[in-house]
Symmetry: C2
């Protein structure tokens, strides 16, 4: 692994969720980690990346997306969740039993993700082990660091896209075993959501998790009809979250991501907080499928770990900058119409969610501090031409709003230059 120095203006968040701007600094990266950030070049003999005039931010971290849905992003936005799954999602995901189809679609996904501002992501595949491993291979080659889940579903889907329980568990074991060959692409236990997973399957996944200590990802309290359905399916559970928790699939000692949490009750939020579950807030998706707006400010105040997810393809774009803007906008609307005590989140809040919170899931990553893994994207914002005098904070805000007018010039993941 190359040791190098990168020079320029570093923008990140401090642990107190405040914006931190350090200009004209030299950052020494060794073994993929930040060794020091200094005013004077600490290793003039090493390779120097001079990023003067640009903006250096931590690589953005996407906590929730569905790779096999990428092909139909921007389609079918006239439905709510359950109808959308039956009409668009399941028929499309079923095509990924075919290796050739998976290869060409996943290649586009991996290529676009590589060229995005995202350095790490937590991703749903499909129920198919082989093509999920294929996706992992493509992501491994991309240089990004990801978790990729083989999805489990043994009930309430279409015949053509469902497993039996035994098979689902057996294939999960196989996928975990085969994924050991990857060095930056990791398995994650992925029950699709409660309606798709029988009690027996959940029990089996709980046991696999117990044995492997792998992290977990799923969906929680996204849509009202879905929540009602879960109540019917799991009458003994005190909440939707509890339906995962009773099988040991809801945080505590191990890392769990629950996407959405739009309509979580107070007791569910308490459980999320107590269990240390990461919430993947997906505002674009929640607007597109008419799900609503998650109470992010309330969650942050409670100390819940809220990250961001694009939720491609219910979210139409894999741009995390786009998702940060949507998060700020959505919180304003929630404040206006849903709860006047929940003041809007700031751009810095969104930046923190997209870097430090997502980063915590991956370990020590998401900011520029000694000992942290070095993920960074370097952005040339001069292409978003203006003659306005900008202070540094405004310049950063503007860069996120006008991300598609800016140019990504370099991208580092764990100290490797991937672009």
């Amino acid at each position: 692994m190359e040791t190098f120095v990168i020079f320029g203006d570093f923008f990140d968040c401090d642990p107190e969720r405040q914006l931190r701007i350090r200009k004209q600094k030299y950052c020494l990266v060794e073994d993929g980690k930040i060794r020091t950030i200094a005013d004077v070049n600490p290793a003039p003999e090493k390779k120097l990346y001079d990023c003067s005039g640009k903006i250096i931010i931590p690589g953005l971290i996407d906590l929730h997306m569905h790779a096999p849905q990428y092909g139909f992003r921007g389609l079918g936005m006239d439905m709510e969740l359950l109808q959308w799954l039956d009409t668009y999602t399941f028929p499309e995901e079923a095509k990924y039993s075919d290796k050739e189809y998976a290869q060409k679609q996943y290649a586009i996904f991996a290529d676009h993700l590589k060229k995005s501002w995202t350095s790490r992501a937590v991703i749903f595949g499909t129920i198919y082990t082989d093509t999920t491993l294929l996706l992992m291979e493509l992501l491994e080659k991309s240089g990004l660091i990801t978790y990729v889940g083989k999805v489990n579903m043994d009930r309430n889907s279409k015949d053509y896209y469902m497993e039996d329980t035994e098979e689902s568990l057996r294939e999960t074991e196989r996928y975990i075993e085969e994924a050991k060959k990857f060095t930056r692409t990791f398995p994650i236990i992925t029950p699709r959501f409660i309606p798709s997973c029988s009690d027996e399957l959940m029990k089996g996944l709980g046991e696999i998790q117990d044995r492997t200590m792998l992290p977990i990802q799923s969906h929680l309290s996204e849509n009202r009809s879905e929540i009602e359905w879960v109540k019917e399916l799991m009458p003994e559970s005190s909440s939707y979250g509890d339906a995962y928790d009773r099988y040991g699939l809801f945080g505590k000692q191990d890392r769990t991501i629950m996407a959405h949490c739009v309509s979580s009750t107070k007791s569910e939020l308490d459980l999320i907080q107590y269990s240390g579950v990461y919430v993947a807030h997906c505002p674009s998706s929640n607007m597109n499928l008419s799900s609503g707006i998650a109470p992010v400010k309330k969650m942050l105040k409670k100390g819940i770990k809220v990250g961001l997810g694009t939720d491609v393809a219910a979210g139409e774009s894999l741009s995390m900058a786009h998702e940060m803007i949507r998060a700020v906008q959505a919180s304003k609307i929630r404040w206006r119409y849903v709860d006047s005590r929940e003041t809007p989140i700031s751009m810095t809040d969104a930046f923190y969610m997209a870097t430090r919170t997502g980063g915590e899931f991956f370990g020590k990553v998401g900011c520029f501090e000694e000992g942290y893994e070095f993920d960074a994207v370097v952005v040339d914002d001069s292409t978003a031409s203006t003659y306005i005098d900008l202070n540094d904070e405004k310049r950063l805000e503007r860069m996120f709003y006008l991300a598609h007018e800016c140019v990504l010039t370099d991208k580092f993941v764990l100290g490797n230059k991937v672009l």
Copy 2:
């Protein structure tokens, strides 16, 4: 003016707000107008634009934007309207007293607008006549068709950005007079909003309008504090809309655009409908400044003419495709949280608003029908790669959602090729 034939797949809306798709047609354009749309080339001797494989839609029409704010798009999104005006807008607009500054900023604006999917727009300038005329000159050269308003403000602004009443009226007359030299760039009476305009100024503008029969643009019921303020300023008015109406600046025989109408009361909506006022719905802006979400579905049901506006720079982008998506998303959230009787608008509704409704303001434009002026943008959507089979309707929806991944290949305004 060139006579030509354009061949390809035409997507527009019919008068009943239904999507209309006509594939592999020949459209004959003569004197800027559509002469016929046929299965067989009606004029093989004329120039042929072959747009096979692409999507041809009417040029999009932006009913509300502020040219002098373009330089600070994506900035200052942490405030509500009145504070935002004082902090960002008025200081920036004041810089446009300087010709050199105006020249370089407006040149970027006109260039970006020209390269966008927008063929016509209704635009605010500043209080300065000379640089507003300069903006008009740049837009005239762009080939787009626009209305550009010299803004009137004689109270409640900062000293450095305010006119006295006499001066404001006199300069308005001068601007109208000088604008006669343009052929595709037109003046429009532009009282900023009630808080900025004294009764005397409004009276004078009403008289100018009466004499010139020019159209009118302003802002209405955008933000709660603003609405309260108007009530204090105009206690004798029955509504904010009535405060314009009493000076003859609210539709009826002449065309008026009122931007926002987020919080219009029932009686104000009645007045809007009765007066034939165009509402410029600006969902991005209304999210960014925490204003809320206008009741678009209710307006459409009432027969109100609702078009779309990007409201740059409270809206962060001058992309009308972006604004269409935002309109659909916002309506879903309004349905979810504000009024369950207002079902979400469809993409076709948004397409209609961005083409036919906006077009009606400009005359006979906004669709592909005989006798209509020919504004069109031709989009190559093959760059938004997918292997999904798309029917035509889905292909169009996807094109709008993924607009920034598609390529604008040709643009026509009134039968002139401007790109």
